[in-house]
Symmetry: C2
């Protein structure tokens, strides 16, 4: 059964929800009617059951191991996606603080996060890449932070523009808050440099509908009692993600993805090297095209997750997307706000997918360039 | 494959997440690696893809057809469960209104909803069943509503106590708001009597992680611009549940459940009759036990979804749960706040499950009564 269906699968370059490891999908499929030992589907078991307790504990443990999360951090599984975090971060970490929140706006998602922060307190645009259409990242010398700042917020990878921080911005002792939605678990991180890091799962880590939040526990003291219950990080930590019914299936799949990273890939350093190799092939193809393809991001800001580039005309872009789809290379159209092409090559995109796309790009350029 | 796995399935009386129709699980399993025509799993396709657009549209259409939802109502798919609705309802419908919100508290969930409403505005305890441990519902004569009330809120079925409204409370022209999480799509409803009705899916309608909200469109005018984006009903309606990435898998499964209700069950009246017949068997077994089993709810308030009863002692209760589990009757332990036994017999619980439980109850009573 799985063989015949697997051949129906295309190379899926969707920016999210996005490709998942085939081995994970196969395990989900195998156990869909009855989780071993449970007598019921993972979709049907109580979140208070022993089986789900183990699923949650293992997902937390594996994510903690992969990212070397220190003991004084808590890992939560929430709902509402990044959009809800755009509000929960300032509601929990900014209210009644003496200093402002500082936002590094390096693309569309950072901009939307800042808009929500303005509704909750004093939030500053510390840096904004708008003037160059978000094709680069700030230099250290461009970032000036209030020493009283409540936190510094940034987006490690901007999915739409395809720009990614290679390392964390320098913020001293100010808590660093990161939206890592689109590069979560794609590489090792020095977690002790973060105050809070969150990621909606549907890029590198699982299906839509579950968001991981990792918080340094001293920051929980900022969450005030009069916050709406679901929006209070402390409630979720005190109840170990069981303040209400968690998105059980999403947690389950995320745990399987983490298991795949540990047992099949060999950890985040190995994953990072694979991701670097995949991205390098695509950027090399862009550069070798003699100007037929032009990358959006400056070389120093290039994303390993979302490779964004343009063709000489809208007609050629449309022809490219259509011809690629005919060769089972799917979802390559760029986001409507940027245009052009976007190849999202998250963890689970196999090297064969990238190689096929590179050959396609070369052929297309040879024909139309 | 499905046959052998299906025999591993027990009768699952979990209160939620809960049993789903086997035909739905089989379709999810069949298409898990590649949704027909998509070349990718439903877990992997973009929420902006044509395929997911159809999934969302069909889920909305089928739910609308099943419940006869009038044209001037909108159907949204959100995240965050009932807990987030406890806050979103007053944030959207109570702020800057001249009258209070009126809450009918008939069990644990209504009580928690009221606690959250107090944080957002003036909310009144219009009725509270605490004095009889939430075993009954209010009479019409016990409900006195401020003619200026912003809305009247109630919980159609209280999962923990097992009490259910057979019909809507009379509230005249005041918008009626209903938490229908645990009896959604279990019976036909006069939707035009509701201002807003919501349900988290993990009882009768799908997996955990998706919440349906059905709102009469004039009420959207109350949602203020300065609400946090994700918490604003108007944002979700304006974007047709695409304000951010919706919980795509949950919407997909919910659509399949709605299809099962339409095509296999024959609609909500047929479903309601099945549910009445199942519940009648269990309540008859309680009454025929000569006092060995005692129901929690007064007969007029009995839930068709969650049948709650006690045994003569805690020891017998534990023995009952253990012996039932040994006969593949799972998750019968009552909620810790009420104790005793709770048999949740949602839509997807087959009649055979109820019949097996009834026989088990008779045998257990004969042995220990």
């Amino acid at each position: 059964m799985s063989d015949s269906v697997a051949t129906d699968r295309i190379f899926n370059f969707s920016a999210g929800p996005a490709v998942l490891p085939l081995a994970v999908l196969q395990e989900v499929q195998r156990d869909l009617l009855a989780l071993p030992g449970a007598g019921a589907s993972v979709l049907e078991i109580s979140h208070r059951s022993k089986q789900f307790g183990e699923i949650l504990e293992q997902a937390q443990r594996r994510i903690g191991e992969l990212l070397n999360v220190p003991e004084n951090y808590k890992i939560m599984f929430l709902q509402g996606g990044s959009r809800l975090q755009f509000s929960m971060v300032p509601m929990n970490l900014l209210r009644d603080q003496s200093g402002p929140a500082e936002y590094l706006v390096t693309g569309s998602w950072g901009k939307k996060a800042l808009e929500q922060a303005h509704l909750e307190g004093t939030a500053k645009t510390t840096w904004d890449g708008k003037s160059t259409n978000y094709n680069r990242l700030p230099e250290s010398s461009e970032i000036e932070i209030d020493p009283q700042a409540a936190y510094v917020y940034y987006t490690s990878n901007e999915t739409i523009q395809g720009v990614q921080f290679a390392t964390e911005p320098e913020v001293g002792d100010i808590p660093l808050v990161c939206d890592a939605s689109s590069d979560f678990m794609s590489r090792p991180l020095p977690m002790d440099r973060y105050g809070l890091l969150y990621a909606c799962a549907q890029k590198n880590a699982g299906p839509a509908g579950v968001t991981v939040v990792i918080i340094r526990d001293d920051l929980l003291e900022r969450s005030q009692k009069n916050l709406p219950g679901y929006l209070n990080y402390r409630e979720h930590v005190d109840n170990n993600s069981m303040y209400n019914t968690p998105p059980t299936f999403g947690v389950y799949v995320m745990g399987l993805v983490a298991k795949w990273l540990q047992e099949e890939v060999g950890g985040l350093q190995a994953m990072h090297e694979r991701n670097q190799a995949k991205a390098a092939q695509l950027y090399a193809a862009i550069e070798a095209s003699g100007g037929f393809y032009t990358g959006h991001a400056e070389p120093s800001a290039r994303s390993l997750m979302n490779v964004t580039f343009r063709l000489p005309s809208d007609e050629l872009t449309e022809a490219f997307v259509a011809a690629a789809a005919a060769e089972n290379l799917g979802s390559l159209k760029g986001h409507r706000s940027v245009g052009g092409i976007r190849a999202s090559i998250y963890n689970a995109m196999p090297e064969a997918g990238v190689e096929t796309l590179v050959r396609f790009m070369q052929d297309f350029c040879a024909k139309h360039g």
